[in-house]
């Protein structure tokens, strides 16, 4: 749930933890986010073809991973946050039936700009790790 009022730069400190966000990875979620990002690669919606290509099941596409990273940040920071940069590294795939739990903490803070370290982990390990750079009012 996006905070209705935004965090202010002075409200946050290095080391602050973001509220954890658990994303249940339903099949509907993986398919609907892939299609909403106009990504029709079969491995993101067709289990049979995904298996032919050596994957046990369909898995989340990268655009959606970015989508959840963005949501995780503004759920916490509110509508006045301005994202400047999202830098992610991809790891274990997000398969249906799993849950991705997103955690984050403030790594740097300087002159109105905040850098947050984010991590989204599923039961296989880290699906995504990275940093988000944003401006707070």
């Amino acid at each position: 749930m996006t905070a209705t009022t935004s965090l202010r730069y002075d409200d946050v400190d290095v080391g602050d933890q973001l509220p954890e966000l658990a994303i249940p990875l339903t099949r509907t979620l993986i398919v609907s986010t892939a299609i909403a990002s106009r990504d029709y690669q079969d491995v993101h919606h067709d289990p049979g073809l995904a298996q032919e290509r050596g994957s046990p099941d369909i898995f989340m596409n990268i655009l959606s991973t970015n989508g959840f990273v963005g949501r995780f940040i503004t759920d916490w920071a509110g509508p006045d946050a301005v994202l400047k940069r999202v830098n992610i590294r991809l790891g274990a795939p997000n398969y249906p039936g799993d849950t991705m739990t997103m955690t984050g903490k403030i790594a740097k803070k300087d002159d109105g700009v905040v850098e947050v370290e984010v991590r989204g982990a599923n039961k296989l390990g880290d699906h995504v790790t990275g940093t988000v750079t944003l401006e707070l009012p």
Partner: protein
């Protein structure tokens, strides 16, 4: 057999793509629009009001409706019709060159987006893509391969640069990864762990491990415990000894996380602990069920047994959990070696 000269030549060929435009520019099918934003935020479950609520957006720093910045790539996706693969552009040539050398699998590894400004309804984006870097051959968890980094620039119709994206993929040879297992991609089975050097002094310890018994050598004259096994008691010089079974609990006395060099039988990063058992002796063992970054000196741990192959069973230690699995039974649910995506 590939000679060194051939390999150097191949890498030089790959490097010749650096700096080239990947292909022609691509233009988004539609300008930034509310229906696509709505589909996106509903699917992602993102209820930030500035994406869909004109009043809330007007009262925010954005001043008007904006799409989620992380949606950048979506504005120029081709949709259900695939990109024509008629070749003739450097992207296809580079991919074909890698394919023909056996690097046929692909996985995306990194994505870095920068937003020079938030987009507005009506912005119509086009991209130009440069092949920024092609790496030397790298041994990775997924397999031996080359990283290919592209840099995409997103511009509006009047040429304003609004976003950039650096995207890295790994093109790798399937079945050459350290994580490759029998059920991985159906190619080579995982190599076995190195064998311990068995002697008449330490054989009892490995025999105990096969039975899931964690043994500690004991001097029968002065009762002093010792590990690793050796013939003489350091305290009383007696050669007489027997062994007692440890309870299986202890703490991390020290540890290292091994990244390199990498041996195919192991998964990396590999946390290795020096475990101080409750009985007082210390032993070296793998740490499992814990992220390498989360290992701490003093962390309470307990033993579990890993049957690496029919001839080799070794103890490993995991953090003590509240619902304690019985020592001697490998817990279900530890992540196994990870497999390739495609």
């Amino acid at each position: 057999m590939t000679t060194t000269a051939d390999a150097t030549d191949f890498v030089a060929q790959l490097k010749s793509f650096e700096g080239k435009e990947a292909g022609g520019p691509e233009r988004g099918a539609d300008p930034v629009n509310q229906p696509m934003i709505r589909h996106w935020v509903e699917a992602i479950g993102d209820d930030n009001p500035v994406y869909v609520d004109a009043d809330a957006a007007a009262n925010s720093v954005h001043g008007q409706i904006v799409p989620p910045p992380v949606m950048l790539q979506a504005w120029v996706m081709r949709g259900v019709r695939p990109r024509p693969t008629d070749g003739g552009n450097p992207r296809d040539e580079l991919m074909n060159l890698l394919d023909s050398a056996g690097f046929t699998s692909v996985v995306a590894t990194n994505c870095e987006q920068e937003y020079h400004r938030y987009l507005h309804l009506g912005d119509h984006l086009s991209t130009s893509t440069i092949i920024e870097a092609v790496s030397d051959e790298k041994a990775t968890g997924l397999g031996v391969g080359h990283f290919v980094t592209t840099r995409v620039e997103y511009r509006t119709e009047d040429g304003e640069l609004v976003g950039t994206m650096r995207f890295r993929i790994l093109k790798f040879k399937p079945g050459t990864g350290r994580g490759a297992t029998q059920d991985g991609d159906g190619s080579k089975p995982r190599p076995k762990r190195p064998r311990p050097a068995l002697t008449q002094d330490n054989a009892f310890w490995f025999a105990g491990a096969k039975e899931h018994r964690l043994l500690i050598q004991r001097c029968t004259q002065c009762q002093e415990l010792r590990h690793p096994p050796r013939p003489v008691c350091a305290k009383c010089r007696s050669y007489e000894w027997d062994a007692v079974e440890a309870g299986g609990r202890g703490t991390v006395y020290s540890y290292v996380v091994n990244h390199y060099p990498q041996v195919p039988a192991f998964d990396y990063p590999l946390p290795i602990g020096l475990i101080e058992l409750d009985e007082g002796t210390r032993l070296v063992a793998n740490l499992v069920g814990v992220d390498a970054a989360d290992v701490r000196v003093g962390m309470p741990v307990e033993v579990e047994w890993i049957e690496h192959d029919p001839d080799l069973t070794l103890p490993a230690f995991h953090p003590v959990r509240s619902e304690r699995p019985r020592a001697g039974q490998p817990d279900e649910g530890w992540p196994g070696p990870q497999r390739a995506e495609q």
